[in-house]
Amino acid sequence: MDLLPTDDQSELAAAVRALCEARFDVDSLRELEGSGFDAGRWGDLAGMGVFAATLEESAGGAGLGAAEAVLVFEELGRALVPGPVLWTQLAAGIVDGAAAGETVVGGLDLTGGAAGPHLVAHLDACDAVIGVAEDRVLRWDADAMRAVPLADSLDPLTPVHHVEELPPGDEIGGAEAAGRMVADATVLTAAFEVGLATAVTDMASTYALDREQFGKPIGAFQAVKHILADMVVRAEVARSAVYAAGATLDDPEAGDLDRIVHAAKICADLAADKNARACIQVHGGMGYTWEVPAHYFLKRAWVLEPLFGGIAEHADAVAASLVS
């Protein structure tokens, strides 16, 4: 039992972080506003093996586990990497070319009944789209979606298309594949949110040390200090749950997979939203400007929270498990 990254895992995370710092720094995010996608940077992610990470070696992948994928997505979240990274990773081994990043795959979360408008992110960049419900996995060609691009999206780095009527699509997986994909997708989304929650904690903390008011850094004031401490607590609690969920995906007998997946998503949803809000508050007026990137993080958190079930759905599921 060891819930810390191994040396190999830490090296992998460091490599992804180095790539992100080089290719997805904040200024380059600004360049991607409205599209969120850049073929060159996408190629860098593919070159790093992000999409092929968990594909079996026999199928040309790196054969890594969910534990490694969780660390990779935590780093992607820290850098707020845009684009259909999650869906393309999920599609590796299912959609030809996804693992190599040659086929860009978008996705549709059809869990929870998925009533309401169907929105596909980054469709302009996609070659294919997969959809996952609890009981099946569907596939479409991107241009078969007959989707309408929307003028504005909440997150400037996550443009969305509206699919007015979902075309039939090819069923490429049944309940078992779907179940595993939903679990993977939930945990990787949570991992991304943990990275995001950590990044805004770092950002707020750096600002609190730098910004002076009343003759001292604002981080010397308990009001600010305690906001920051609560950010640390939320991020660390969520990170713990996400690591445990990753380890349990790799070794389902080592724990209660459903419960830890619920815990990971609940705590990560909470950490991403609350920490990004707190980051804005610590920055004061500057936090509310477009220039300071805190708002990007919060908007992404809002986009991610409802995916694969938000706090409400997962908490309801845990409640049901308590009395069953």
């Binding site: 009944g113 504005d152 909440l154 009343f214 004061g284 477009w290």
Partner: protein, 395 residues
């Protein structure tokens, strides 16, 4: 302790309601929020209509051209205007709510004669030059300096968070005139005309995409000494007069709007489909919305208490304003959170879809983030409440 309005107050309300019913339908829809020139025209036209009808400067004294309404009438005024869907004070808020009242309290007769009528008629637009990049919560540490040169002050430095700076005619400007004095003691309050040479205005884009805020840079800007309000180095006190002017009616328009939005959110929740039914079928979400509506009713009662206090004392309600700001801004942010919860995955779109007003709702949720920061962060407000109401030491 009663909630019934006097016959005179009811008559005031009836007249106003009649006028609003006749007037508002012709005003037309507001322009896009980032078209500042159109917004100025729209809000100014409304200000002129108020002026012609005798409602401009609703709570300004009659001798300064105002209506001289009592605090209760002022409450009624804001309430009825909001209920009628009339334009808000909008781009004229600094003139009507801050600069004007300050000039009434501290200006010379000449200054009053020069500026007040144009504010009331919407002819001149005012902005505020108080905050600086290094002086936010700690406003008194401002550094923009003004040096006396004969009968002018020469101003150098910069300001930030100036609303509508690009389209304004006049600025209420705080400058440092004595660098050696303790920080509150070396500040002076000036009227600065925005077309004076040496002023540069740069818009700041906000997180919701709006361009209402500006940075304003001053490079040897010459302001006549006659534009000084109050004594040299006495500007801090003058600025504080401005801050405490509102006699209990702050947030009234916003509260009525939030009440409307809360009811609309409940209706919206009945349209947002979920696996089995609609978002409104989620009992926990429904309860959260109900509780928010109830707390808003309680804040409305707090406004009435604050107004009642102002009516008795003819003074602002003191820290009652901080209590209200703390509670209302946090409630308003919670409404933003609940809105995103109701929208669920649809919230990723900021374009209207399937009958859901997503552009407005998502922008509203983002906009609410500024409320616990602007005009004194919640942290500063809590200090004020603990120090001024409970007497906690400043330390």
């Amino acid at each position: 302790m009663d909630l019934r309005y006097s016959a005179a107050e009811e008559a005031f309300r009836a007249d106003l309601r009649t006028w609003l019913a006749a007037t508002v339908p012709d005003v037309g829809p507001p322009p896009p929020s980032n078209d500042l020139v159109a917004r100025r025209a729209y809000d100014t036209a409304w200000q002129a209509m108020l002026f012609d009808a005798g409602y401009a400067g609703i709570d300004w004294p009659r001798e300064y051209g105002g209506r001289g309404a009592s605090p209760v009438e002022t409450l009624i005024f804001h309430e009825e205007c909001a209920r009628a869907g009339a334009p808000y004070v909008g781009v004229n808020f600094v003139g009507c709510l801050h600069a004007g009242p300050t000039l009434i309290a501290e200006g010379t007769e000449a200054q009053q004669a020069r500026y007040l009528p144009r504010i009331l008629r919407g002819e001149e637009l005012w902005c505020q030059g108080f905050s600086e990049p290094q002086a936010g919560s700690d406003l008194a540490s401002l550094r923009t300096r003004a040096e006396r040169d004969g009968d002018t002050y020469v101003v150098n430095g910069s300001k930030i968070w100036t609303s509508f700076g690009e389209i304004s005619d006049q600025m209420e400007l705080l400058v440092r005139t004595d660098a050696d004095a303790p920080k509150h003691k070396g500040i002076t309050w000036l009227v600065c005309t925005m077309d004076t040479p040496g002023i540069e205005v740069r818009p700041l884009v906000a997180a919701n995409g709006s361009v209402e805020f500006d940075e304003v840079f001053f490079d040897d800007v010459r302001v006549p000494v006659e534009n000084r309000v109050g004594a040299e180095n006495g500007g801090w006190r003058v600025a504080m007069v401005t801050f405490s002017f509102e006699r209990g009616s702050a947030f009234v328009s916003e509260m009525i709007e939030v009440a409307r939005e809360t009811a609309a959110l409940a209706e919206l929740a009945r349209k947002v489909t979920r696996r089995s039914g609609t978002a409104w079928d989620d009992a926990a979400l429904r309860r959260d919305i109900g509780r928010l509506a109830a707390e808003l009713d309680a804040l409305w009662a707090l406004v009435k208490r604050n107004v009642s206090e102002a009516a008795r004392t003819n003074e602002p309600p003191g820290v009652g304003g901080s209590v209200l700001k703390l509670a209302f801004t946090e409630l308003n942010q919670r409404l933003g959170e609940l809105t995103m919860s109701v929208l669920g995955r649809a919230g990723a779109a900021a374009t209207d879809l399937d009958g859901l007003p997503l552009a407005e709702l998502t922008e509203r949720s983002v906009r609410s983030l500024a409320l616990t920061i602007a005009a004194g962060t919640s942290q500063i407000q809590r200090n004020i409440v603990a120090e001024r109401i409970l007497g906690m030491p400043r330390g």
